[in-house]
Symmetry: C2
Subunit: 214 residues, 2 copies
């Protein structure tokens, strides 16, 4: 290996160590209380400025963590959408929304931290925009489009509203289950697949519910 590529490999390793440490610390202690200095230390970096050097601002670091997960989740969803094709079953499209996130966490193996981290971003007045930009892209829109084609009579405003509700449930129930696993609290479902089944049941019911005219 030439000198330049050794340096590049080391830099990639350091970035990876920082991302992993930051994600864990953010999930366990909160995005705002953890300092770049604490992250550098937890990542085994002698230099306390390592986070700044490799990522820039805290927001840039947060964006990098989101991308590290949003990209594989999106890829899983794109494949599911291809299989769903032109399905007329509400449940198939809800599965495209729900299952990729659960499957991704399952593939990471225990413990995971991303779901708790993501839930914090979604309730922060500033960081939620970042999260929505990075993690709610075209594959989510296509899933919702499929869903809407199955339910042609639902008023547009109710579709919007139920799309938001589904997103809230996906983000926050994923985080609750991850937290329970981390704390050793008993969970309702044996694994992420069964969790996804339960959430798909519930969101399918939510979407199919008749809407009160208001």
């Amino acid at each position: 290996m030439v000198k330049g590529s050794v340096k590049a490999a080391r830099s990639a390793e350091t970035r990876e160590a920082i991302l992993a440490a930051a994600e864990r610390l953010f999930a366990e202690h909160g995005v705002f209380v953890v300092s770049n200095r604490q992250i550098s230390e937890a990542a085994g970096q002698g230099n306390n400025a390592a986070v700044g050097y490799h990522f820039g601002t805290k927001t840039d670091l947060i964006r990098a963590i989101v991308r590290r997960h949003a990209e594989p989740i999106d890829a899983l969803r794109v494949r599911m959408l291809a299989r769903a094709g032109a399905s007329r079953e509400v449940r198939d499209w809800v599965a495209c929304l729900v299952r990729p996130g659960a499957q991704h966490l399952s593939c990471l193996g225990a413990p995971t931290w991303y779901a708790r981290f993501a839930a914090q971003l979604m309730t922060d007045p500033v960081l939620r925009e970042l999260m929505i930009d990075e993690a709610f892209g075209p594959s989510i829109v296509n899933s919702l489009d499929g869903l809407n084609r199955c339910l042609p009579d639902l008023p547009p405003a109710v579709r919007l509203e139920r799309g938001d509700m589904a997103r809230q449930l996906m983000v926050h129930t994923l985080a609750e289950r991850e937290r329970a696993l981390a704390d050793g609290t008993p969970t309702v479902h044996a694994d992420w697949d069964a969790y996804a089944d339960g959430l798909i049941d519930a969101i399918t019911g939510l979407w199919r519910a008749p809407a009160t005219a208001t």
Copy 2:
């Protein structure tokens, strides 16, 4: 008025000013980025230690804000539960869960901040326990009991799971609507009552959905 009661009245006014300022700043900028000093200033207190003097720690202040809202919401729910009596309609019990929070925000008049503040607490690894202790008391349990009596065949684990989902939806859709109102973003529903109708429709559908055996 005797001297002691004038002093007590002033102290109550100061506490009220601090609670209002803290709630607004927390909702708009985030619970962790706002300092006690900023709150004291926004509450018109010359003394930057006013928050500490009147409330103790930041956690104590947060608890006081939660109580200020959780108590009237609970009182509304207790009255609704009395009216629901022995209803066998899922929708009536879901209404006991959902409507009191919406009604409380409606009574406060625009703008409100509590929903955004509460949503932040619910995703924080530490503060969520405080929120659950203060805001999810017996009236919530009684609403869920009523609901469960309407759906005797649902497995216990699924009941638990759907109770959590309903809680997530209540907390986070309330916060989304409050945020949209604050930002001037168009909202799906004309008022908090119509919002509650939409959420009651959705949660009723969620609860009634058949459960996949896992």
